[in-house]
């Protein structure tokens, strides 16, 4: 059995290690989440790739197919044409749950949509909202894909 003073010392080491470990895990998770959000949610290229691939996936499906896509609160514009997707995210500062997110550079990305010729895509455009999340729906019915 350890003496009182020695036990207290080891106990304090243990508590100190535990607190340090918790702080490290918190910072790693918080930092990692921030990096992922910056690279995906606020990147025109990532959004354009995702939307283009989702439309392409629904056009490859033989039957009806719906999906909903959601933008984070920010300034952005989306334009879907017959054969391409255009996403623009201007440089701005948005506040999400009291956290300030600074989008340093304006990013624009245009990506072609790969689909069979007999699939028609209705043109669509929308703007994001810096206050709330903005979503739009895609619905494939037979050989026609529409958005709202």
């Amino acid at each position: 059995m350890l003496k009182g003073s020695l036990f207290t010392t080891y106990f304090l080491f243990f508590i100190g290690s535990l607190v340090t470990a918790i702080i490290l895990v918190y910072f790693i998770l918080w930092g990692g989440l921030g990096i992922i959000k910056t690279l995906t949610y606020y990147s025109a290229r990532a959004n354009a790739e995702l939307i283009s691939s989702l439309i392409s996936a629904s056009s490859s499906f033989y039957g009806d197919f719906d999906f909903t896509y959601e933008f984070e609160p920010m300034n952005c514009s989306l334009e879907i044409k017959e054969n391409e997707v255009n996403v623009t995210i201007p440089s701005s500062t948005v506040f999400v749950e009291r956290t300030q997110i600074v989008i340093k550079k304006t990013s624009e990305f245009i990506l072609p949509i790969t689909k069979p010729d007999y699939i028609t895509i209705n043109e669509f455009s929308t703007e994001c909202d810096p206050e709330v999340k903005k979503s739009f729906n895609s619905a494939k019915h037979e050989d026609d894909i529409g958005f709202e």
Partner: protein, 150 residues
């Protein structure tokens, strides 16, 4: 005359670090190192490179596998990944791609080649899928290879 060893120590005092002190020092050094590494890591700017061409080629393949101009249809159902031999023989492209693309489908009996292999260009992306060819008297396994050129 008083003899000294250069150290003013009391008799019986041992000036070696205790085990607890070593552990405390190790703990402090470890904490400083971890915090230093975290600070150094936070100074890096993270970037990523996605393979847009590769992703789009996968999109093309998925569309091609279920395209009406090649896929086998029976009783109003379209079979993804099963190609109709008669459609392959009289192939007319129905899935466009924005780059030079070359498709090669072969089974144990026949080989079909669509698109052109541009000379002097390098292969940018390449994909291979297992497929099945529907002949009038049965199904034959085969492969489909698709290449894009820069």
């Amino acid at each position: 005359m008083k003899m000294t060893l250069g150290l003013n120590r009391m008799k019986g005092q041992v000036q070696i670090p205790t085990e607890v002190m070593i552990k405390a020092l190790a703990f402090i050094i470890l904490t400083i190192t971890i915090l230093g590494v975290l600070f150094a890591v936070s100074q890096y700017q993270v970037t990523y490179e996605s393979r847009v061409g590769y992703r789009q080629l996968i999109d093309f393949m998925e569309n091609f596998l279920s395209a009406k101009c090649v896929a086998y249809e029976e009783n109003g159902n379209l079979w993804k990944g099963i190609f109709d031999k008669s459609k392959l023989d009289s192939y007319s492209p129905c899935v466009q791609y924005h780059k030079n693309i070359y498709i090669e489908i072969k089974d144990t009996k026949t080989e079909w080649k669509f698109g052109t292999k541009p000379s002097g260009f390098q292969v940018e992306e390449e994909l291979s899928y297992p497929v099945v060819i529907k002949y009038h008297n049965g199904l034959v396994p085969g492969t489909m290879e698709v290449k894009t050129y820069t």
